[in-house]
Symmetry: C2
Subunit: 353 residues, 2 copies
Amino acid sequence: MAKGHVRLADVARAAGVSQGTASNVFSRPDVVREEVRERVLNVARELGYRGPDIKGRLLRAGRVNAIGVAAVEPLTYFFDDPWARSLMTAIGEVCDASGTGIAVVSAMNEERLAWNINSALVDGFILLCVEGGERLVELTRQRQLPFIALALGIEDATIPAIGIDNVSGAAAAARHLLELGHRNIAILSIGDVDGLVGPIAPERVDPEMEATPRDRMHGYWQALAEYGISREAVPIQGTLHDRPSTLTAMAALFSSDTPPTAILAMSDKVALYAIQWLAERGLKVPEDVSIVGFDGVPEAATSLPRLTTVAQPFAEIARRSVTAILENALPKDHEALDLELVVRDSTAPPRSR
Amino acid sequence: MAKGHVRLADVARAAGVSQGTASNVFSRPDVVREEVRERVLNVARELGYRGPDIKGRLLRAGRVNAIGVAAVEPLTYFFDDPWARSLMTAIGEVCDASGTGIAVVSAMNEERLAWNINSALVDGFILLCVEGGERLVELTRQRQLPFIALALGIEDATIPAIGIDNVSGAAAAARHLLELGHRNIAILSIGDVDGLVGPIAPERVDPEMEATPRDRMHGYWQALAEYGISREAVPIQGTLHDRPSTLTAMAALFSSDTPPTAILAMSDKVALYAIQWLAERGLKVPEDVSIVGFDGVPEAATSLPRLTTVAQPFAEIARRSVTAILENALPKDHEALDLELVVRDSTAPPRSR
DNA sequence: TCCGTTTATTGAATCGATTCAACATGTGAA
DNA sequence: TTCACATGTTGAATCGATTCAATAAACGGA
């Protein structure tokens, strides 16, 4: 009492019970006799005691009841980027159900990454590995907390990870356009590699591209091959997954003599930018140009027109990740979940039919 | 060593130094002699010691380096709702600059709210008080950590809060439409009160409406009065700030004999839904109907057409909130920041001119 | 050589709770 | 009356670090 803060020990002494009993009054009220409990609670109130301090509890119990979500991106990424947000929303839903909190941890530079990962007060991590995944995993491993990697481009089977079947998903998207009758199709790729903007030759895909866009590319090619269309016949424009580079890419695609009648975009974000570009030039979707996105972010369902896309099972990914961490039951293998083609209003048969 | 976990004391013993010195090696390396430091670090490496455990450090040092953002909403709200996201993005930016982490804490039901607020490991709270603000503030107060309330509808000057000048902001929006020549204007209000959906009579505004929409309403009325338009002449439709109720409200507004030529929407979210409704009916914005939103969320800048709106100074709000908490320098008074009318493409003179 | 400084290290106290073996007490059955 | 058992309570150990007063060692100046 004298020292500013009232602690459990003070309450215990003032109420004439042991510290153990006082602790029980707050943490396991059912084991202490009602009469004693009331007395302790009254004393606590008089003294202005606010209940057990979490820091002490934490030290002893070791559980925080929160999971950390980390990415090699600024904090704004979690609230900005459609893919990240879709995931966060799904994770939020699962955490809400179990009363778990979420801490977002970011790290742009190496130094801070290490610090942030090490000092986040969480019971485990979900790693968003779109970029810099390798380093992120390594760092998190050192923390010796359960973690699970999402969107990991690394093969290493010792890393618990949940992935998606990008190849079949992409193939489904391409097949959809082909079935509608499109034969003049272009691809809008995504990535963080500066060298991969503008036109990309097929032979550069395997050596230079990151895992996710590479897999999607192969999925596209696979379906195109089924219809006898060779890789070389399909123009690829690389974007940095942002607005400016997408607009540039679109301009390049449509400056051709035979502009595409359909576009395969490797993300909904890019697809949506592409639609904006088309709208500004008076080209109608899907009448003039069809477009298929990727990811299945919520914006795709409310855009104008509503976007046909390949949806990730965000809810399932979130459910598995969170329970894996909370129950410390990490998957042994990499799991790859299926994607689902969601046909909406941005695709139609080509006009020239 | 024997007990699974290696702790600082083990390292100290193995290296033949005191625990104090071992601690310094990690936390204040500059004060220990290089030779000793190296020795300790080597031993630590051999033993597999990962550096100081944050839980112990926390207990002693008491600082977490993270701020909590709380709302009486599900966790998904933080990643879903445009207003919340704008704020979170701005907060993220400030936190990034100072290396601070963010924990989001939610609470739908009373019981869990208390628990979540009490067990969040943070140095302070930013409270999103759009709904249930009063209770949220009360609970947080008990935690005895610095906190600051945003979008608070309560007058109580003892609560540190940052607000915005809703009245002048709304007035500016209305004035903009009036200056363009609109005289037949309708209002789309927002709120969480079930009774306030559908047509709302002006006399119900003061007694029944929450603070934010009420203030905005008065701002609208103020500007309308300047042009000699009485409150009674302006139809108000209440929405629950979601899609279905907005569509219903729009339908009601346009079933009138004299449908409005312009709409004042109390949020960008609602404004965007309204535009969708109009688009589906073939009504063009701004040619057929002008619309002004409120808040200045990023979607408003990229929608089709780009939305004219009254922008909140999110960056400034975030900057002030975060620094107030980090430096424990809470504002004495309620601060009210100015809003800015951002004219874009969703407003034009009425057609019939 | 002696003394005053500076620098590095030690050891013990501390942060604030939880946990658990041991002990009291009360109850019912044999 | 005695024993077994359930129920409450106690006291001390523990979690894993940081901090600080006290001490030791090294150094420089007179």
